[in-house]
Amino acid sequence: MKKRNLAQRTAFLLIGASAVITFALFALILGYVLIKGMANINWEFLTTYPALMGREGGIFPTIIGTLVLTGVALLIAVPLGVAAAIYLSEYTKGGIGIRIIRFAIESLAGIPSIIYGLFGFAFLVTFLKLGFSVLSGAIALALMVLPIIIRTTEEAIRTVPDDYRQASLALGATRWQTTSRVVLPAALPGVVTAVMLASGRAVGETAAVWLTAGGALKLPFSLHDPTRPMTLHLYYLAAEGLSLERAYATAAVLLVLVLVVYSLAIFFRQKFGMKRR
């Protein structure tokens, strides 16, 4: 009896310790970057152009670069991903073809992001002659986040009770009416979660845009202009020893943005979970 108690207590202690260590690591990284970065963040840093390749000045165009790349990537990936999720969950019965498609989506999620960058460079930039541009970068990002959107949306659609579909079909609604007017609205919080998770990934991505978006330190005025997101700027600042101070400040801005996006995702996910009674 005593032995079992001891075993139980040890187990709890170990589990508790790992939880504490995980949280401590998270807090450490976050705290370190924020403390080192915040000191150099001010209004000017956020709103002016970099000078001398980033040794001086702010990061304004890279903030815009991140937002534009993420926005365009979502415009491409969300409709495509939601449509694919609807098709997979509502219109298929799971034959061999569907199993292959699912396997492909799972694999797509596991591909290292630098491969998306390389593919983007070879196919989009060079072969399709889209050049180093917002469009090339956004397409590479879109491909990268597509599996997240498909999987999260599919999950949300699956949790919509079958009762709703039956009720709708029994009233003489068509399959498509049932999907678009009952199933999708009921799954909407899940779709929003999917979009948030995908934005988080896209905002934080470096490798996929490195070989596709170019790296110009100016504002992109069209889809064909090159741009440089914060992640890439941070990489150059640190790797080329331009300004470690500004690298930390950029990292802090990036981190805050990602935290906001993921918090929204968690918020929506929780609201969604509660609605399921």
């Binding site: 019965k93 009770p161 009762d163 709703y164 039956q166 009720a167 709708s168 079909l169 029994a170 009233l171 003489g172 609604a173 068509t174 009416q177 007017r181 009952v182 609205p185 009921a186 609605k275």
Partner: protein
């Protein structure tokens, strides 16, 4: 009973894969009356009900033989479109299943999918349907509040109202009171008694006393077969088959 039937089933068999769930059923449902389907659970009552508006099409591996005639034409003919069929032959489920929308939107859903767009017309339909389902007085001040906030009994009457809004001719109800308390059950029974003056109604029920109260005709099922059918009062007082008698005297679950 067969000749004047609104909807009738002839030599109808249904298989779930290899499982023979309905065996050569023949039965007619007369217009403007209520037919109750009774029998021990698992005997095929819900299966038969779902066969009448082809909701069974949604289940993989279902195969049918025989006919189901709605006003003389077979609903299983290959060129039949299930959309207008289900508009004509509507269904109320065992568990109340309103959509996660407002009361108004729930009722307006059916007319909308069938093409009604005018707001004023939709308002009329919603009011009429709720009145016909004896729910109007309880909800008229909160048509925009979520349907899922209603009580179970109100939800079930809402589902009936939602069904009436598409102007069906036949109402199928699968144990519509089994999830309700006695008071809500009484309300739904009253409603159904009123509706059968206008519609052809088929109700599956576990409850013989309920069948006795609300039905004009009764059909008794056992292990996928229809054992006997007839006018409710006669069948209850004078069953001719021993399975029916055993069931009525409570020798099955």
């Amino acid at each position: 009973m067969m000749q004047s039937a609104k909807i009738s089933v002839q030599d109808f068999s249904l298989y779930y894969g290899a499982f023979h769930a309905l065996k050569k059923i023949s039965l007619g449902f007369p217009p403007r009356s209520l037919t109750a389907l009774v029998g021990p659970s698992g005997c095929g009552k819900s299966t038969l009900l779902r066969s009448l508006n082809r909701m069974n099409d949604l289940i993989a591996g279902v195969r049918v033989e025989g006919r189901v005639s709605l006003e003389g034409s077979n609903i299983y003919d290959p060129d039949v479109d299930v959309v207008p069929l289900r508009k004509k032959v509507g269904m109320v489920f065992q568990r109340p299943n309103p959509f996660p929308m407002s009361i108004f939107e729930n009722i307006a859903y059916g007319p909308r999918v069938h093409g009604e767009k005018k707001r004023s017309r939709l308002q009329d339909i919603v009011e009429q349907s709720l009145k016909s389902a004896a729910l109007w007085d309880e909800v008229k001040d909160r048509l925009d509040s979520p349907a899922l906030k209603l009580s179970g009994g109100q939800q079930q009457r809402l589902c009936i109202a939602r069904l009436l809004a598409v102007e069906p001719e036949v109402l199928l109800m699968d144990e519509p009171c089994s999830a309700l308390d006695p008071i809500a059950t009484e309300k739904v029974e009253e409603l159904v008694m009123d509706l059968k003056k206008k519609y052809t109604i088929v109700v599956v029920t576990h409850n013989i006393a309920q069948a006795a109260r609300i039905s004009d005709y009764l059909a008794f099922f056992y292990l996928g077969e229809m054992i006997e059918s007839g006018v409710t009062r006669q069948l209850l007082t004078n069953p001719t088959k021993h399975q029916t008698e055993d069931y009525l005297t409570g020798r099955f679950g």
